[in-house]
Amino acid sequence: MVDRRTVLKSLFVASGIAALAPFFPLGKFLTPEAQASYPRQKVGNINDIPILGQLFVTYPKTGDPAKDNDPFRQFLIIRTGENEVKAYSRVCIHLWCLVDYQKDKDLIECPCHGSQYRKEDGYAVAGPAAKQPNRYLPILKVEIDSNGDIYAIGIEGEIGYGR
């Protein structure tokens, strides 16, 4: 025995809430990363990198220096085999300095506070980065075609935070 007024009132409230629903997808406006286009971009050629050498690349490249200098767009490609590379974000997951690969130590190292990462999977083995909740460097996803051209196709993980 629900009276009519109550039914109408609840319908009013329900329709009000329903009218709000379409606004949630608009939240995408705020998160460019969620829908960011990670275009397939050529970042280098594997034959230019010696074995166990490294190459610094910018991705996604825009041509605008203000954007291309962003640490969040800096990546590192290590050639680990004849036709094999490993690619990571250069942003140290400790305090966002830029890491690089040290051939003599066979580790990726951060100049700031000495965090060290394995080149195989980007796992932090020493230093303050090893105390972070996420200990892996974000990965730059790459493809290598028959000419040896390296194409970046996306990013795995949160830059500056790990994966």
Binding site: D70, Q74, K131, E158
Partner: protein
């Protein structure tokens, strides 16, 4: 002659008329919903610390708006534009220093205001909503100041940004969403976004909350306002804020400590326990402890000594804030140890001290209230005698102060003319302080 007099009078009348006309129309606006009370006696500033906090907010709004004329919210522009404001723009360094010191002052006043209201039990008289919005406003003030110093993009700023980002990411469910929104696709988006938050969104939210926080009767004391802003100007002149080193991703290790108001959080994080618990959960619980005071303190008494719970929260709040702030500053100076070793804080020692503080505060408050109940209430303090100086003497002092103020204003202008901003600003501050005392002097005379 008579005609002339009549004319003059009617002219005066016209002014009075139009004044009354304006006031009558203004009465229909929201402005007159608030009653401004200008105290006619010399009163303790404790009663209107909130108003002083708001005045500081206005100072921040004005100086901040001026800084917006030159600041460039981008990865490449941020630091250089702040440097330009500091070194090249006329009065840029003055505006920037006032903005910086005003942010510290506003946080200090807000915290002082909170504890004064807590110990004087003002939240009891149907002021629960005012209390809760006040705690939220205080928190927003700190976050706003924190975002503000991130905008400089020096090393200290990036350290703060990074800690903020790590904490946001570590918060379950909403954290990653917020981080995505604030960081966007990288530094360039990040700066523009925190800039928008700093100059528009946060101030807007705060202004909206002011309407839920301000009481209908506002005490406005021009004397005290003059003294506070004067002191702020002098501090800004004497302690210019350094620019810091520009952030570049390859910079070597540097031990930097954040601004004092986020030091407690920094100290918690340096225990190297779980980030979310240390950096988000515990600070939230600390803030909640204040928020719930009006709802758990149900005693009828207005005397703080008869309310052990509120007294305990107050004392433990003050002590914990001080201890964690100071602890956050301390860095092991031993150069042989690594950066991380020097920063680490022993969690057992740290939390041992915090737990001890809580036991002492709550236990002490409980014992004190128990003990003081037994003793008979001391007789109410009689009103202190007004200062025993003759009216003529005060009048003389006021005249002397007015002359001094004009002189100091002259010195200030002359110094600006010479390009000596430091002394100019000191003199400006001094003249405002003298103005404050003049207002008190006149008040002493008129209330005799």
């Amino acid at each position: 002659m008579a005609d002339e007099k009549k004319e003059a009078k009617s002219f005066l009348d016209k002014i009075v008329e139009s004044y009354e006309w304006t006031i009558k129309r203004l009465e229909r606006t929201i402005l007159f919903g608030i009653r401004f009370v200008i105290p006619n006696k010399v009163v303790s500033p404790h009663g209107f610390l909130g108003m002083l906090t708001f005045i500081t907010f206005i100072v921040l709004g004005v100086t901040g708006a001026l800084l917006m004329f030159y600041y460039r919210p981008s990865l490449t522009g941020a630091y250089d534009s702040v440097k330009m404001i500091n070194d090249e723009i006329d009065f840029g360094i003055v505006i920037r220093n006032i903005h910086y010191h005003a942010s510290n002052l506003m946080i200090f006043l807000a915290i002082y205001h909170l504890f004064y209201q807590l110990f004087s039990s003002r939240y009891k008289i149907r002021n629960e909503i005012i209390w809760v919005t006040g705690v939220i406003l205080g928190t927003l003030t700190i976050v706003e100041a924190y975002i503000g110093y991130d905008l400089i993009m020096n090393i200290r700023a990036v350290l703060a940004i990074n800690i903020g980002a790590a904490l946001t990411y570590s918060t379950p469910f909403i954290g990653p969403v917020i981080a995505d929104i604030v960081i966007g696709t990288g530094f360039d988006d990040l700066i523009l976004r925190i800039y928008t938050l700093h100059v528009l969104i946060f101030p807007m939210i705060m202004i909206i909350l002011f309407t839920l926080h301000f009481p209908r009767n506002l005490v406005f004391d021009p004397g005290m306002v003059g003294i506070i802003i004067g002191a702020l100007f002098i501090t800004s002149a004497l302690f210019p804020v350094p620019l810091g080193d520009k952030y570049t991703p390859d910079l070597p290790a540097q031990v930097t400590v954040p601004e004092w108001y986020i030091n407690p959080l920094y100290a918690l994080l340096r225990t190297e326990l779980d980030k979310f618990v240390m950096g988000v959960l515990l600070p939230t619980l600390f803030i909640m402890m204040f928020m719930v005071v009006p709802f758990i303190d149900r005693s009828k008494s207005m005397k703080i000594t008869e309310r052990p719970l509120a007294l305990g929260i107050g004392i433990s709040g003050v002590l914990q804030s001080i201890v964690t702030t100071v602890w956050g500053f301390y860095v092991d100076p031993d150069p042989r140890k690594s950066y991380v070793e020097r920063l680490a804080i022993d969690p057992y020692l740290f939390f041992g001290v915090l737990i001890l503080i809580n036991i002492v505060s709550f236990g002490g408050a409980y014992l004190y209230s128990k003990y003081s109940k037994k003793s008979p209430t001391p007789p109410r303090r009689t009103r202190s005698e007004p200062i025993n100086i003759s009216k003529e003497t005060i009048e003389g002092i006021v005249y002397a102060m007015v002359i001094t103020e004009f002189f100091v204003v002259g010195v200030s202008l002359y110094m600006y003319l010479l390009g000596n901003l430091t002394f100019g600003l000191i003199a400006t501050g001094l003249s405002l302080i003298i103005f404050g005392f003049i207002s008190y002097g006149i008040r002493l005379i008129t209330t005799r």
